[in-house]
């Protein structure tokens, strides 16, 4: 690598000198070709042309050499006496000086023009890069994404080592440990002062790189080290500053967004907690009051109660306690499902089996067999947590049994990509104003004198969502409700064993 670079470095001037030689040889050849047809002045013009070309395309050094060479060659080959360096008349001497002057002026003008073109090109490129970075930053949301974009932008613009470290003004840099102490100190200092350090800035000019803060005073998000840094390269430094200002704004925006989200979550959590407490105090206290009432009545009035009344109190204790147990199960399940702790224990399951097991339990409350189930044979298997799905279907059937007194239809159907379980009843249905919040926990606490349904549906919904499926509610024409659980099917069904 190094050798190639060195040769390239050496070859470049040689190539330029070669061009100079070629121009001079060409001009001399042209002069000879037209020697007998034109005057000495025209021959001089050919040399002027060569000098103009050289000074336009090459640097001032080559153009001066070319001018001197042109004057010498013109003098040697064409100015009488020919093939000597003698100059006959003063006129020719003036021609020579003029040619030298032309070479210098044109070279100077061309160099200026080249510089301007170059700087215009660089400015356009830098403006483009700033615009590109701004666009990319618009879609970056985390500080790490922004840092990656920032590093890429700096690297593409500056050849030396460019580093970007994130951190708040006061408490150091997040990846400060990996930086050399001097670099880390400079970054800390530029963040503290919210100003650029390094060559040409008047602050710490002895450094070999620029240190730029990401952000403004009070909104500091990190610092950047940029190399190479030349004291005179004001445009480069300004560009680095522009990049850093974009990055600083993006970082600050990301931090604001994240703290806003945290605040929102916190508010939401507190709201859920307070509705939870309100609901628990209602959903648990009422049945508890019934249990305690019945039990204490049996305890203190035992002898005064008839056998029938005693039995009624006892069965009320059992049913209220069973209800309490269901509410507790659902509450715990909801907390598990909504707090990311829950990891589903998924396995290949058969919906027919799950429905069968749920029915075996629910039939105890359904002696007249109001639930009519229709489960087709050879349903595809699903990857699911069977205990949760059983709880979901059980809750829906329990609700249907509680709220309606007619037949309840339970149907399972499968398509190519999903499995659907529908539970239809002819109960009073859900009032329109409650449909929106039907699956929210405790959204419609006991305005109707009935209880528990809100929590049960919230659990059902959470279970469906945890399985990547959905639970929807529809009103039936002619009265009643339809709850539909839809679960995605794996395209790849498990294989039977090879026999």
């Amino acid at each position: 690598m190094n050798d190639v670079a060195v040769t390239a470095f050496r070859r470049q001037p040689l190539w330029r000198w070669f061009v100079v030689a070629l121009l001079l040889i060409g001009a001399t050849a042209c002069g000879y070709l037209v020697d007998h047809h034109v005057s000495l002045t025209s021959q001089a013009m050919v040399y002027v042309l060569a000098v103009v070309i050289a000074s336009y395309t090459l640097s001032w050094k080559e153009s001066i050499v070319c001018a001197v060479g042109a004057v010498t060659a013109f003098n040697f080959f064409f100015v009488p006496p020919r093939l000597t360096f003698q100059v006959d008349s003063q006129e020719h001497l003036i021609a020579l000086f003029t040619m030298l002057l032309v070479a210098l002026v044109i070279s100077h003008l061309a160099a200026g023009m080249r510089r301007e073109t170059e700087s215009a090109r660089l400015n356009a490129q830098r403006a483009g890069q700033l615009q590109k970075l701004a666009t990319e930053l618009a879609s970056a949301t985390t500080p790490d994404e922004i840092a990656v974009l920032g590093r890429a932008a700096l690297k593409s613009e500056f050849d030396g080592q460019c580093l970007l470290a994130l951190g708040l003004g006061g408490d150091g840099l997040t990846n400060g440990g990996e930086l050399p102490p001097a670099m880390s100190d400079a970054m800390q200092c530029c963040m503290k002062e919210a100003a650029v350090l390094g060559p040409g800035t008047g602050r710490w000019p002895g450094l070999d790189a620029w240190y730029l803060p990401l952000g403004t005073k009070g909104q500091m998000s990190g610092a950047v080290c940029v190399a190479p840094a030349l004291a005179g390269d004001t445009a480069g430094r300004e560009h680095a500053q522009a990049l850093c200002s974009l990055l600083g704004q993006a970082l600050w925006r990301a931090r604001l967004t994240s703290s806003m989200l945290t605040a929102q979550h916190e508010a939401q959590r507190q709201q859920v907690q307070s509705t939870f407490l309100a609901a628990i105090s209602h959903d648990l206290r009422t049945p508890l009051a019934a249990v305690i009432g019945a039990a204490s009545s049996l305890q203190t009035q035992h002898d005064k109660l008839s056998r029938v009344e005693q039995d009624r109190l006892l069965s009320s204790i059992v049913s209220e306690a069973t209800y309490l147990s269901n509410v507790t199960d659902n509450t715990l399940q909801l907390v598990r499902l909504t707090s990311s702790i829950q990891v589903l224990k998924q396995d290949w399951e058969s919906m027919e089996e799950i429905v069968g097991a749920v029915l075996a339990r629910v039939r105890q409350r359904d002696p007249s067999r109001r639930i009519k189930s229709k489960v087709p044979e050879k349903l595809p298997l699903i990857k699911a947590d069977p205990v949760l799905l059983a709880q979901l279907i059980g809750n829906l059937l329990d609700n249907a049994l509680q709220y309606s007194s007619d037949a309840i239809e339970l149907g399972v159907s499968a398509s190519d990509h999903e499995l659907q379980v529908c539970i239809k009843d002819r109960g009073p249905g859900i009032p329109q104003e409650q449909v929106q919040t039907l699956f929210e926990p405790f959204s419609h606490n006991d305005h109707s004198g009935q209880r528990g349904a809100g929590l049960g549906l919230a659990v059902c919904h959470a279970i469906a969502v945890a399985h990547g499926g959905s639970l929807t509610f529809r009103r039936r024409t002619g009265g009643g409700s339809t709850f539909a659980l839809t679960l995605p099917l794996n395209k790849q069904q498990p294989q039977r064993e090879q026999t």
Binding site: S325, L359, S373, E377, P386, V387, P494, R496, E497
Partner: protein, 228 residues
């Protein structure tokens, strides 16, 4: 002879409830509040049935089950709260006989104890060879399965599966146990075999496979062949 039951349960109320309802049924009830106390009592005087609660203060009881299985053949019933599936299955696979989920009724508790005792009673003579309930009759010696007196044709795998359940009739057989006994120990994760073969078996044996009478599903745990 009075049967002795050791109840290992740390909650005082449930312990005394079990004690009184089991005493009423004619059992002699001993109680322990921890795994270590239960170990000591097993050592001094082994009971006829062990009722083990999950989530005891000094351990989940898995080593107690291992220890019991090393020396005794007494039935072990695991009492668990819902949501303790994983631990419950672990104990069943380790050799516990059956489980009860809290809250349970006294009737359920007694039924489970009766089933587990019946197995232990016959285990010393011969394993169960014939199973009969309602319309179903399974004779393991003759390799014969009949419904309403008509012989059913089962594939070898279906029969092996049914036979395994018959040998533990009335008790839960975990997925793992069933897979390992029917297909072999390297197939214990292939639960989909169970789903597919159980559907086939139910289609042949049950009147309404969607609501089985005989081959009951213990959701998330295993299967149980009904005996009542």
């Amino acid at each position: 002879m009075t049967l002795r039951i050791l109840v290992v349960e740390d909650d005082r109320e449930i312990r005394s409830l079990m004690q009184s309802s089991l005493t009423v049924e004619g059992f002699e009830v001993q109680t322990a509040v921890s795994v270590s106390e239960a170990k000591a009592m097993l050592h001094i005087a082994p009971p006829d049935v062990l009722l083990l609660d999950l989530g005891l203060p000094d351990g989940d009881g898995i080593d107690l089950v291992h220890e019991v299985r090393k020396q005794h053949s007494l039935p072990v019933l695991v009492v668990s709260a819902r949501h303790q599936e994983a631990q419950k299955i672990q104990l069943l696979d380790a050799g516990a006989d059956d489980y009860l989920t809290k809250p349970f009724s006294v009737a359920e508790l007694l039924a489970r104890i009766r089933v587990s005792l019946r197995h232990r009673g016959t285990a010393l003579d011969a394993a169960i060879k014939v199973h009969e309930l309602d319309d179903l009759r399974v004779d393991l010696t003759l390799h014969q399965v009949q419904r309403d007196g008509e012989t059913l044709h089962l594939t070898p795998t279906e029969f092996k599966m049914l036979a395994r359940l018959v040998r533990s009739a009335g008790r839960v057989v975990t997925h793992r146990q069933l897979l390992s006994d029917v297909w072999g120990s390297e197939f214990t994760e292939h639960t989909h075999y169970l789903r597919l073969y159980m559907a086939q078996l139910r289609a042949k044996i049950e009147r309404d496979p969607a609501e089985p009478r005989h081959l009951l599903t213990e959701t998330g745990v295993g299967y149980r062949l009904a005996t009542v």
